[in-house]
C-alpha cells in the first residue's frame, strides 16, 4: 500500500510514537528533499491534493473513479487538475487500483497525507525544519498561545483525515492476503500509546476551543475507527498465527529490550501453565555393561576441544623421525609439567594466542601418542574470559598417567 520507497529497515526509536510514523516521516522527508522545488513552492498542488485526499478518505476502500476525482476538483481548471494529478501519481500519493476487472479506480496513500500536513505547516510557519512527532507536535501546538482556532481546526481536520486514511488502508489489508497483512500492518497500526495520545490531544483541543466541537467529534470518530481497524487487523493475524510467525510482528528491538529489562518473575510468567517431561534417560543393562567394558579410562569422554584446535601449526618443520618427534613432545610435556603430576591447561595457555595454540596442539599430540605417558583431560563446560586469550576456556588438565 505504501510507496515503493518505504524503508522497511527503519529502526524503532522509543521516543517516537510508533514505528509506522517514523518510517513515514523519513520517507516524506526524503521525497520532499528531492522534490522540494516541485512541491513546496506550489500551494495549488497542495490544495488539489488536499481536496482529493479529503474525498478519498470519505470514499473508503473503493476509492474514486476518474470522473469522481474531476468532479471533486471541479473548481480548478482542467489543465491544473491534470497536471497536479500527474505529479501526485508520480509522487506515489495517488495510485491506481482495480477492485473489479475493467474498472479503474484511484486511492490515496496515507504517507502523502502526512507529508502534506508537514508541507502545509512548513508553509504556514515558514520553516519548521523537523516534524518528528506527529501527535506530540500537535499537542505542543494546542498549548501554544499563538495558535488560532482556524489553525487548530485545520490541524484537527488533517489529523482526522490521516487517521481515516490509515484506517482504510488497514481495513483493506485485513481483507487482503495474510502475507501482506503481516508485512504491512505493523507499520500502520496504532499502539495503545498512540491512541491514548490522540485522545488526549482531542481533549486538549476541545477544552481550548469549545467552538470546534464538531471538528473534534469527527476527530474522535476517526481515532476510534483507527483503533478499531488496528484491532481487526491484529485479530486476523492472531487467528492465522502459525507456530512462531507472529513473533515477527514485534520488532527485534522490542524483544531485546524486554530480554534485558524484564525481571525473573516476568520472564518466568511466559512459561506459566506449561508442563514438560521430567528427565528420564533409560539405561539398559546391556548398555551399562558396554559402558564399563568400552570405557578405556572410565573418565568422561572428551568433549570437542575448544576451537580452533588444529594440531598442524608449528609442527610443519619437524620432519624428523618418529623417535625425534616423540622426544620433542616428551621434553615439551615435562617442561609444561615442571615436575608436577598435572597442570591446569589454562595456566599453560596464558600467553598470546598464537603461541598458546601451538602449545595446545603439542599437548594434544602428547596425549594422543600411544607411547607417551601423558593425558589431556577436559571437563564439560565453557568458561568465558573476555579479556583473556583465548576468550573462552574449557577447564582441562594435562597430566602424567
Amino acid at each position: 500500500m505504501s510507496t515503493a520507497s518505504e524503508n522497511p529497515a527503519a529502526s524503532l526509536d522509543d521516543v517516537l510514537v510508533g514505528e509506522a510514523v517514523l518510517g513515514v516521516y523519513r520517507q516524506m522527508f526524503a521525497a520532499l528533499a528531492r522534490d522540494s522545488g516541485a512541491v513546496v513552492d506550489d500551494p495549488e498542488l497542495v490544495d488539489v491534493a488536499e481536496t482529493l485526499l479529503a474525498a478519498f478518505a470519505d470514499a473508503g476502500e473503493d476509492g474514486l473513479s476518474r470522473e469522481q476525482m474531476r468532479y471533486v476538483c471541479r473548481r480548478y481548471p482542467s489543465e491544473v487538475f491534470e497536471n497536479r494529478l500527474r505529479v501526485l501519481k508520480g509522487l506515489g500519493a495517488v495510485r491506481e487500483v482495480f477492485p473489479k476487472p475493467n474498472q479503474l479506480r484511484y486511492r490515496a496513500s496515507f504517507t502523502s497525507v502526512v507529508g502534506l500536513m508537514f508541507v502545509r505547516r512548513m508553509m504556514l510557519d515558514g520553516g519548521q525544519s523537523e516534524m518528528h512527532r506527529l501527535l506530540a507536535l500537535e499537542q505542543l501546538n494546542v498549548a501554544d498561545p499563538r495558535m488560532t482556532p482556524e489553525q487548530a481546526r485545520a490541524g484537527a481536520e488533517g489529523l482526522a483525515r490521516a487517521f481515516r486514511l490509515w484506517s482504510v488502508e488497514l481495513v483493506t489489508l485485513t481483507n487482503g492476503t495474510i502475507e501482506e497483512l503481516r508485512e504491512q500492518a505493523p507499520k500502520l497500526w496504532g499502539t495503545e500509546e498512540i491512541l491514548l495520545r490522540a485522545e488526549r490531544l482531542h481533549g486538549a483541543i476541545l477544552r481550548r476551543w469549545p467552538q470546534l466541537d464538531r471538528t473534534c467529534t469527527d476527530l474522535r470518530a476517526a481515532i476510534y475507527a483507527y483503533g478499531d481497524a488496528s484491532r481487526r487487523a491484529a485479530a486476523r493475524l492472531t487467528d492465522s498465527a502459525g507456530t512462531t510467525r507472529n513473533l515477527t510482528l514485534l520488532p527485534p528491538e522490542t524483544w531485546r529490550t524486554f530480554a534485558r529489562t524484564a525481571g525473573r518473575e516476568e520472564l518466568a510468567a511466559v512459561l506459566d501453565g506449561f508442563v514438560f517431561d521430567a528427565a528420564a534417560p533409560w539405561h539398559e543393562p546391556s548398555a551399562v555393561v558396554t559402558a564399563v567394558e568400552d570405557g578405556p579410562r572410565a573418565t568422561p569422554p572428551r568433549p570437542a576441544p575448544p576451537r580452533p584446535s588444529v594440531p598442524d601449526t608449528g609442527l610443519s618443520d619437524d620432519t624428523g623421525s618418529d623417535a625425534t618427534a616423540m622426544e620433542r613432545l616428551r621434553a615439551m610435556a615435562e617442561e609444561v609439567l615442571r615436575g608436577r603430576d598435572r597442570v591446569a591447561v589454562h595456566e599453560v595457555l596464558a600467553q598470546d594466542w598464537v603461541t598458546a595454540r601451538r602449545t595446545l596442539a603439542d599437548l594434544s599430540s602428547a596425549h594422543l601418542h600411544p607411547e607417551l605417558p601423558y593425558r589431556l583431560v577436559w571437563s564439560d563446560g565453557l568458561d568465558v574470559r573476555p579479556d583473556g586469550a583465548p576468550t573462552w576456556v574449557t577447564p582441562g588438565w594435562f597430566e602424567r598417567t
Binding site: E284, A291, V292, P300, P301, D380, L382
Partner: protein, 279 residues
C-alpha cells in the same frame, strides 16, 4: 477427566513421584514399593522398554556423558546389589564413599578427579530416578540405594550385568554403624576410606561444569519426589536380608509383572500371579 489418566501423566511430568504406601495406588500405574512409600513408574505395553527404539534405529532423548553415567551406576550397583541372585531392586543401601571408591578403582588416572566426576554423576542419576541418594545421612558422604527405575529392568536382561558386576573392584569394608545386621559384610577392620571432599574446582570457573562438587546439596528447592528426604529407615526393614528371597521380592512390587521373582522368566503379558491385576 479420568483421575487415573491424570495420575499417569503426572508421573511422567514428575519423573518417578512417590506416594505414601497407605494411599491407594492409581490403577494402571506401575509401582515400586519401598517401605512406607511407593514410587509411581511408567507403564509400557508388552514388557517393552525404551531399549526397543534401538531396534528401529530411532535415537532416544540425548544424554550428555551417558557412558560415564552408566559406569557410575555400575559402581553403585556393585555396592548396592549385594545378592546378585536376587532382583536389583530394592537392593541394599551403601555409602557414597564406597561407591566412589569402587568407581575410582574402575578408572585409570587421578582418583580424586574420578571421585569428583562420580559425585556429580550420582546426583544426576538420583535426579532421574536411577538411584536414591541421601547426601546428608550416615556420614561418609551420604547413602545411596538403587532407584525405582531399576525395578523396570526385565529379569531376562540382567545376566550380562550380573557377570560384569562380579568383575568390578570390591567395595571397601563399611563402617560398623550403618550395616549392623548385614550378614554379608564381615565386621569392619579398616577405617572407612577418605570421604569424597569437594577439592579445588576442576577448572577455571564453575560455569556449566557439572563435575564441580561445590554444588550445594539437594534440598527442598528441587523437585522433591525423585530424591527422598531421609525416607529410608534402617536397612533391616527394606532389604531382603536373611529372609528367603521370594516373598520379599513379591512384596516389593505391586503391579509390575516385569519385576521378576528370582530366576524366573516372566512372560510379557499380564498373568502376574502375585499382582492384584485389576484396574
Amino acid at each position: 477427566m479420568d483421575p487415573q489418566v491424570l495420575a499417569r501423566a503426572r508421573a511422567r511430568v514428575l519423573g518417578a513421584p512417590s506416594v505414601a504406601a497407605a494411599d491407594p495406588v492409581p490403577a494402571g500405574t506401575a509401582a515400586a514399593a519401598d517401605g512406607d512409600r511407593v514410587w509411581l513408574l511408567p507403564v509400557w505395553p508388552d514388557g517393552a522398554t525404551p531399549a526397543l527404539l534401538e531396534e528401529y534405529q530411532t535415537a532416544p532423548m540425548p544424554l550428555d556423558r551417558a557412558g560415564q553415567a552408566r559406569r557410575v551406576l555400575a559402581a553403585a550397583l556393585r555396592c548396592c546389589w549385594t545378592r546378585l541372585d536376587d532382583a536389583p531392586w530394592p537392593g541394599t543401601p551403601s555409602t557414597v564413599a564406597a561407591v566412589l571408591d569402587v568407581y575410582a578403582g574402575m578408572s585409570r588416572g587421578d582418583a580424586d578427579l574420578a571421585r569428583r566426576w562420580a559425585t556429580g554423576e550420582l546426583r544426576r542419576l538420583a535426579d532421574t530416578g536411577w538411584l536414591l541418594l541421601d547426601e546428608g545421612s550416615g556420614g561418609q558422604g551420604g547413602t545411596v540405594r538403587p532407584g525405582p527405575r531399576i525395578s523396570l529392568w526385565a529379569e531376562h536382561t540382567l545376566s550380562s550385568l550380573r557377570s560384569l558386576l562380579h568383575r568390578l573392584p570390591e567395595p571397601p569394608r563399611p563402617a560398623p554403624e550403618t550395616h549392623a545386621q548385614d550378614p554379608l559384610e564381615a565386621p569392619p577392620a579398616v577405617p572407612p576410606p577418605r570421604p569424597a571432599e569437594p577439592a579445588e574446582p576442576a577448572g577455571t570457573g564453575a560455569s556449566v561444569d557439572e563435575a564441580a562438587a561445590g554444588e550445594p546439596p539437594r534440598s527442598g528447592g528441587e523437585r522433591a519426589p525423585s530424591v527422598p528426604p531421609v525416607v529410608f529407615r534402617s536397612p533391616s526393614v527394606n532389604e531382603p536380608a536373611a529372609a528367603p528371597a521370594p516373598p520379599a521380592e513379591k512384596s516389593s512390587t505391586v503391579d509390575n509383572p516385569v519385576q521378576a521373582g528370582p530366576g524366573e522368566a516372566r512372560p510379557g503379558s499380564g498373568d502376574d500371579p502375585s499382582g492384584s491385576g485389576g484396574e
